[in-house]
Symmetry: C2
Subunit: 187 residues, 2 copies
């Protein structure tokens, strides 16, 4: 046994929360790894909405999820999520930073990230999860990290639980996870 690394831990949370037939969002399709994983979890009766502003990412993801007809690839900013998704989701995933192997100057930015996160929180069904993997080693990364952390720290604890999971003795700003769970509403 070893302590689970950040990406396997993130996947294990998705496995626990996402069921066959669910609607989910991959807010940063990138090279399509998470999109594929979500496509497998949701199955043909579910829907994966995968966003990316880069044509290159959409193409890479399209190749990776070939044969999965319940994946909707959306070449647009995740800041417009609510224009494309209007019914409850069980999970949303963000990998902040730049496209691996792509143009490192094209990065997610605080303003659109926060707007997209807010829209996902609105769409989450009770017990649903918003998972944000934060890379902050690149230029502009620490500003985005700080903005995201300030946002999630102030989410009301009556409506959300916010978990931080990460390794803290490593050099080069390794990624860490922020997981937001929407609570059941009490009437």
């Amino acid at each position: 046994m070893s302590l689970q690394r950040v990406l396997p831990f993130t996947k294990s949370l998705l496995e626990q929360i996402v069921a066959s037939g669910d609607r989910v969002i991959d807010a940063t399709a990138g090279n399509g790894h998470d999109t594929l994983f979500l496509a497998q979890l949701t199955g043909p009766d579910g829907t994966v909405f995968a966003f990316d502003i880069q044509k290159e990412a959409i193409e890479a993801t399209k190749t990776r999820v070939e044969g999965f007809h319940h994946v909707r690839l959306i070449h647009d900013s995740h800041a417009k999520i609510s224009e494309y998704v209007d019914s409850p989701i069980s999970a949303a995933v963000f990998n902040l930073g730049y496209l691996p192997k792509g143009d490192h100057s094209i990065i997610t930015k605080s303003q659109s990230t926060l707007s997209a996160m807010e829209q996902c929180l609105e769409l989450l069904q009770p017990n649903g999860l918003l998972l944000v993997v934060i890379y902050s080693g690149h230029e502009g990364g620490s500003e985005e990290r700080d903005a995201v952390m300030e946002f999630v720290r102030t989410l009301p604890q009556t409506n959300f639980d916010v978990l931080q999971y990460g390794f803290i003795n490593q050099q080069h700003s390794p990624p860490f996870l922020v997981a937001v769970e929407k609570k059941l509403k009490k009437n």
Copy 2:
């Protein structure tokens, strides 16, 4: 499913790492809850070394683990762990702060806590875990938290992985976990 709270997550790590026959340390016996849990995991062929400086805590723990003959209750400071334990352990647990329901002015202090943590890291076998649950809401708690965090952040990543697990949008400084895993030595 919900995100696991800090104490259940801590227990689940112990369940994964502690096997029957192991030697383990409860550095802060308190009311004996962790001591009992460790006694159950290690079984009659194992040994649980449970430390507390307060007579009241030792008495409470003694009652709780009645019938478990492999628990050694040690009424002494955990800063003297290495005087009592000289062979490898698979896990050590700390609950920092004061004795629940006891005298809230008697708290764990940075200097002895760090010394005890160092001794436990030395005793840990490869893949073994040091688990520190940090309560910082009480007077003097934030100083101890800061000292512990500075210590663990600077543990060399060649020898240790340090995970932080906690909820960050809650009022009243809820406890969080720091888990240190000793890595296998590479020769």
